[in-house]
C-alpha cells in the first residue's frame, strides 16, 4: 500500500537553529499538507500546498515557517529559527484530489527543541 514517508523520525535541535523536515508524498498525489501535534494535544492543521503554492495556512504557520517542493518527489517544512514551543510531532499528509480523497498521513517527525 502506498505510504507517505517522513524523515528524520526524530530531530533534536537547539533553539534558534533552522530545521528542515522532509516528506515524500504518495507519488500520484497533488495536494500536500503539514500538521502538528504538541504532546498531549490535538493534531492541528498548519498548511496545505498545491500547484507549487500554499493554498491555505493556519495562524500557527507564521513567517518562521515555509514549505517547498524542491523536486518532483519531496515536500519540505522549514522552521527558520526554532523556539521551544515548536517542539511537537510534525505530520505530513497528501491526497490525490481536493478534499478527502486518498488523504494519507505519514508517521511523523518528532522535533525536540532544546
Amino acid at each position: 500500500e502506498p505510504e507517505v514517508t517522513q524523515t528524520p523520525s526524530h530531530q533534536v535541535t537547539q533553539m534558534g537553529q533552522e530545521v528542515i523536515l522532509r516528506c515524500v508524498p504518495i507519488s500520484n498525489h497533488l495536494y500536500f499538507y503539514w500538521y502538528r501535534q504538541i504532546l498531549g494535544q490535538k493534531v492541528e492543521f498548519l498548511v496545505s500546498f498545491y500547484n507549487n503554492e500554499i493554498s491555505e495556512k493556519s495562524e500557527i504557520f507564521d513567517d518562521q515557517f515555509s514549505v517547498e517542493r524542491p523536486d518532483g518527489s519531496n515536500f519540505t517544512l522549514k522552521i527558520r529559527s526554532t523556539k521551544l514551543e515548536d517542539s511537537a510531532m510534525y505530520f505530513c499528509a497528501s491526497s490525490d484530489l481536493p478534499g478527502n480523497y486518498g488523504y494519507t498521513f505519514g508517521s511523523g517527525t518528532r522535533l525536540t527543541v532544546v
Partner: protein, 112 residues
C-alpha cells in the same frame, strides 16, 4: 467557532468486549468524518470514514454511526483486542476545505 470534541478521555475495556468511542462536533456544515487510530510515536492511521449523507457505515470489526440531528459521531469496535489499544481521534472536514479538524482523542486501554 467550530469544535470537534470527545466525551471520554480514557476508556478501559476487557479483551473481547465491544468498545464505543464518542465524538461531538459543532459545525453543521461538516460533511465528512474520519476516525483515526494513533499508536504511540506514530501518525494517524485511517480506520473508517463516513459522509454526511449516511448514518451508518461498517468496516471490519468497526462501525461508525453518525447522528446529524445532535451532531454526534461514534466508533464501535467489536470484540476488542489488545492491538486496538491506542488513542482514537475523530476528525471532520467540510467539503472542498481540504483540511481536517481533529478532536482531542480518547485513549482506549484493552485489558487482557
Amino acid at each position: 467557532g467550530e469544535s470537534v470534541g470527545l466525551h471520554l478521555p480514557t476508556l478501559s475495556v476487557q479483551e473481547g468486549d465491544n468498545s464505543i468511542i464518542n465524538c461531538a462536533y459543532s459545525n453543521s456544515a461538516s460533511d465528512y468524518f474520519i476516525w483515526y487510530k494513533q499508536e504511540s510515536g506514530k501518525g494517524p492511521q485511517f480506520i473508517i470514514d463516513i459522509r454526511s449523507n449516511m448514518d451508518k457505515r461498517q468496516g471490519q470489526r468497526v462501525t461508525v454511526l453518525l447522528n446529524k440531528t445532535v451532531k454526534h459521531l461514534s466508533l464501535q469496535i467489536a470484540a476488542t483486542q489488545p492491538g486496538d489499544s491506542a488513542v482514537y481521534f475523530c476528525a471532520e472536514m467540510r467539503w472542498n476545505f481540504n483540511k481536517f479538524y481533529f478532536g482531542s482523542g480518547t485513549k482506549l486501554n484493552v485489558k487482557p
